[in-house]
Amino acid sequence: MSSIAGTHVRPRDAAAVAEVLRARLGRVRLHGSGSRQQRLEPVPGALALDLTGLATIDRLDAPDQTCSVDCGVTRAQLDDALRPHRLELPCPGDGTLGGLFASDPIGAAAPGGQSPRSLLLGMDALLADGTPFKSGARVVKSVAGFDVHKLLVGSEGRLFVATRLHLRLKPLPRARVAFANQALDREAALRLLQQLRELPHGLQSLQLLRVAGGGGGWNVRGAIAGRANFVAATLRALSLQESDAHPVLHLEAPAGGEVLAGLALPSALPRLLAGLPTDAPFLWHGGGRFETTLPVANATDRALAALASAGGHARIVAAAIGRRGLGTPIDAGHRSIADRLKHALDPHDVLC
C-alpha cells in the first residue's frame, strides 16, 4: 500500500482496503479516477481512499457474456478487453467502473435502454468497518436474497466500498452509426426527437443538445445500431447526418456558474426549456436525464423552483462549495428509508 501526502492511500487489493477501513482512521472519501470529485462537497480531513490500485479484470466469460472486474478497472481498460470478443458494456460513462456505478451520472443512453442498474449482476464489497460481504451473483439472472448491490447505483461512496463488480455484457451490434443533426430550431429538434423515439428498434443512444455559444441552435445526436442494411435505411428514412463526433456526456459549469442535473420526460421538455434562459446550454439523454448550466445561483434557484412546482426533479451537481447537492425536495418517505439504510450500513458515518 502506498501513502500519498498522509491523507491519500492507494491499496492494491480488497484485503488492503479492508485493512485501511479496520484501522478506523476517521471519515473516508472513496476515489475512483477522481473525475467527479469536484462535484461532491469536500469533507475536510477525510482520508482519500483511492481505489484505482484494484485494477484487475478477474473473469471474462465471453460466451456467457458476463465478467467480474475490480472496482478500479477503468472503462477504457474494460472496453479494450471486450473488443476482441465483440462485446461491450452497453451504458455510457467513463472513469473507473466503481465510480461509474456509484455515481451513475447518465443513466440509460436511449429510451428504455440499458443503464448501470440493469447491468450490475452482483458485487463483492466492504462495509465501512472493513467487513467483507457479497450480494447478487455472477449469472445473468438471480433473485436469491435482497439485491444489496443495487444500492451501489447512485450511492456516491456513502454506503459501502464495492471492491468487485459482476457485470452483464452485450454483443456489439453488427453495425452502428453515430449521427448528429445540427443547428436545428427548437421545434424541428423536438420533432426529430419524437420520430426517433417512435422507432421500435435500433436506437442505441439519443441526445438533445444546445451548446454554449451555439447561437441557440439545437443538435439531435445519437446512434442507430443493428444490421448494416437496417441502419442505412433508418438513417435515410429520417435524414440523419452521419457524424464521427464523440457523444457529449456532461456539461461543464461556466466560470461562477452552476450545473443542474435532473429528470425530464420527453413530453415535459418544451415546458422545461421554456423555464430556462434561452441560451442556457442543455443536454438531455434519451434515458430521461438532463443537465443544464446556469450563469448564476439565482437563475438556478428559479429553475429549481419552477421544476419543483411542476413535480420535476433536479439537483445542483456543480457549484461553489455549500450549494452542491441542493435540489428539488425528495419525498419524505424515500428520504427516511435512505437515512435508515445509511445508518444500517454505515452507523458511524465513516463514508462521506
Binding site: 445473468v140 453488427r174 428498434h201 437496417f230 420527453p266 427516511s336 450500513l345
Partner: protein, 484 residues
C-alpha cells in the same frame, strides 16, 4: 369476533374482511403447496388509503401481515402464519394512467400482468415481462418477486421495467419511489430497484409505474427439434455467440414434450425428439427475415430433425401453446409437481443437465426440464405424489442437490421464483453469515419490527416449523445410514 377483526370491518366494510375458517382455505398456500398455513384473517382493501389504514391498525396492534397478489408464487412468499393477516390486493385492479407519448402506465398492484398488455394493445404497446403465469399473476406480485419470463432474454426482468411505486411502509407511512421519467431520482438511491424482488418484506406496493414497449413490426417463431439435448444447447450457444438477441430462447426436454403432446396443450411437437428449441425473433420485417435464416442455419448445422417457422399469429400461438402449457401438462405425470428454479452460466447448460439427470436417477424421481436457455435459467420439475412421504422426501432431497449443483457451477438458487419459505435453507449455498447479516440490515431499514411478511427470504431461527424440518428430511434421504 375479536376486537381487531371488528376494527378491520369498520375500516373496510364487512365484505372485505374474511375470518371464517372455511373462507380462509383459499389463502392457505400459494403454488408451493408443500407449505400450508391458514391465516388469522384476510382483508381485501380497494385503495392506497385503505391499505394504509389497515397497516396502521396492524402495526399498532403488533400483528404481522402478508401482502398477496394472485397467489401464484412458487416459493411460499404469500403464505401467512396463523397469527398473521393477509392483505390481498386483488380488488386493486385499475390501470390508473397510460401515457402514449412517454410510454408508461401507472397501475394498481392487483392488475393482472396480461390485462395490462390487453389494455394497451390497441395503442401498439405492451408490457414486456411475461411470466408463464401472466394470465393470472399480478403486477404487484411481479414487482415483489422481480419476475421474469420467456421474453426477458431480450427485454429484461421486471426490475428493468418498473419506474416507480407508491409503497405503504410496514408502519403505515407512505413512501414514493422513482418517477415516470426515471427510476432513480437525481442524488438519490435507486430504492425502486432494491424494493423489486424484496418478496413483500419491505412494504406493500399500492401503485406501480411501469414502462410500456412499442410492439415490433414483425415477429417470427422458429421451432427446432433435436435428437440430443446437446445439439439443442449448442444451437443456443451458436445463436448467442453470433451476437443475435432473440426475444426468447426456450428449451423443452423429451419428457416434457411427451407430457405436453399427451395433454390439452398439444402443440404438434415431435414426440421422438430429445429436445425442442423455440426461438422467437422480433423487429423490422427484413431484419427478422435475415435473422430467421441465420437461426435456421444454426439449427441445420446442429442436426435439427425438424425445423418449423411460424410467421402468423395463429401458428405462433400453436408453437407457444406447448411451452406455456408445459407446467399444466405435468399434472398428468403425478398428483404433485415440484417446480425448481436454478440458474447456471449459459456456457454450462449441458453440464448442468447431465448432472440433473444423474441426480434424478440417483433419487429415483421423475424429472422433466423446461428452461429459459438464453438466460441459463433452468426449471427442472419433479412430478411426485405428495401423499407418499418417502417419495416427497426423495423429491425434496433431489431438489436440494440440483440447486447445490447450480451453485457449484457458478450459478444461483433462484432465477425468478424467489426464496419465500421454500429456499430458506438453500440461500446459505450462496451466502455466508456476513452477507445475510447485511441483507438483514437492509430489510430492517424498511421493516424494523419484522412484521411485514415475517419468516421469508432470510433464514432465521423463527423460520416456520414446516420448513425447519426440511434439512433433517434431506439429511435422512442423502444419508439413510446416519439418519438425522
Amino acid at each position: 369476533m375479536p376486537a381487531l377483526e371488528r376494527e378491520l370491518e369498520r375500516l373496510l366494510g364487512e365484505r372485505a374482511v374474511l375470518t371464517a375458517p372455511d373462507a380462509l382455505l383459499a389463502w392457505e398456500c400459494d403454488g408451493f403447496t408443500v407449505h400450508k398455513s391458514r391465516p388469522r384473517a384476510v382483508v381485501l382493501p380497494n385503495s392506497t388509503a385503505q391499505v394504509q389504514a389497515v397497516v396502521r391498525l396492524l402495526h399498532a396492534a403488533a400483528v404481522p401481515f402478508v401482502p398477496r397478489g394472485a397467489g401464484t408464487c412458487l416459493s411460499g412468499g404469500p403464505t401467512a402464519g396463523a397469527d398473521a393477516v393477509v392483505i390481498d390486493l386483488a380488488r386493486m385492479r385499475q390501470v390508473l394512467h397510460v401515457s402514449t407519448e412517454d410510454l408508461y402506465a401507472v397501475v394498481q398492484p392487483g392488475v393482472v400482468n396480461l390485462d395490462l398488455t390487453t389494455a394497451v394493445h390497441h395503442l401498439g404497446l405492451h408490457y414486456a415481462p411475461d411470466p408463464s403465469s401472466q394470465s393470472v399473476c399480478t403486477i404487484g406480485g411481479n414487482f415483489a418477486e422481480n419476475s421474469g419470463g420467456p421474453h426477458c432474454f431480450k427485454y429484461g426482468m421486471t426490475v428493468d421495467h418498473v419506474l416507480g411505486a407508491v409503497i405503504v411502509l410496514p408502519d403505515g407511512a407512505l413512501c414514493r419511489l422513482g418517477d415516470p421519467a426515471g427510476a432513480r431520482l437525481p442524488g438519490a438511491l435507486d430504492l425502486t430497484a432494491v424494493f423489486c424482488g424484496s418478496e413483500g418484506t419491505f412494504g406493500i406496493a399500492t401503485e406501480i409505474t411501469v414502462r410500456l414497449c412499442r410492439d415490433q413490426r414483425a415477429v417470427r417463431t422458429l421451432l427446432g427439434a433435436f435428437a440430443t439435448m446437446t445439439a439443442a444447447c449448442r444451437t443456443v450457444s451458436d445463436i448467442v455467440a453470433a451476437g443475435l438477441v432473440p426475444a426468447a430462447l426456450e428449451i423443452l426436454d423429451q419428457a416434457t414434450i411427451r407430457a405436453v403432446e399427451a395433454s390439452v396443450y398439444r402443440a404438434g411437437y415431435p414426440a421422438d425428439a430429445a429436445a425442442v428449441l423455440l426461438v422467437e425473433l422480433d423487429g423490422p420485417d427484413d431484419v427478422v427475415a435475415e435473422e430467421a435464416a441465420e437461426v435456421r442455419a444454426f439449427m441445420q448445422q446442429n442436426g435439427g430433425l425438424r425445423i418449423e417457422e411460424a410467421t402468423d399469429a395463429a401458428e405462433r400461438k400453436r408453437l407457444w401453446k406447448g411451452r406455456k402449457g408445459a407446467f399444466g401438462a405435468m399434472g398428468r405425470l403425478n398428483t404433485d409437481l415440484y417446480v425448481l428454479d436454478g440458474v447456471v452460466p449459459r456456457t454450462r447448460l449441458e453440464e448442468a443437465l447431465v448432472g440433473i439427470s444423474a441426480i434424478g436417477q440417483k433419487h429415483g424421481v421423475l424429472l422433466t426440464n423446461v428452461f429459459h436457455a438464453g438466460d441459463g435459467n433452468l426449471h427442472p420439475n419433479i412430478s411426485y405424489d405428495g401423499r407418499d412421504a418417502a417419495m416427497t422426501a426423495r423429491t425434496v432431497a433431489a431438489g436440494h442437490e440440483i440447486l447445490q449443483l447450480c451453485v457449484d457451477l457458478g450459478g444461483s438458487v433462484s432465477g425468478e421464483h424467489g426464496i419465500g419459505t421454500e429456499k430458506l435453507d438453500h440461500v446459505r449455498m450462496m451466502y455466508g453469515d456476513a452477507d445475510l447479516d447485511v441483507m438483514a440490515r437492509v430489510r430492517a431499514a424498511w421493516n424494523p419490527d419484522g412484521r411485514c411478511n415475517p419468516g421469508k427470504v432470510l433464514p432465521s431461527r423463527n423460520a416456520c416449523a414446516e420448513v425447519a424440518k426440511w434439512p433433517q428430511m434431506i439429511a435422512k434421504v442423502l444419508d439413510p445410514e446416519g439418519g438425522a
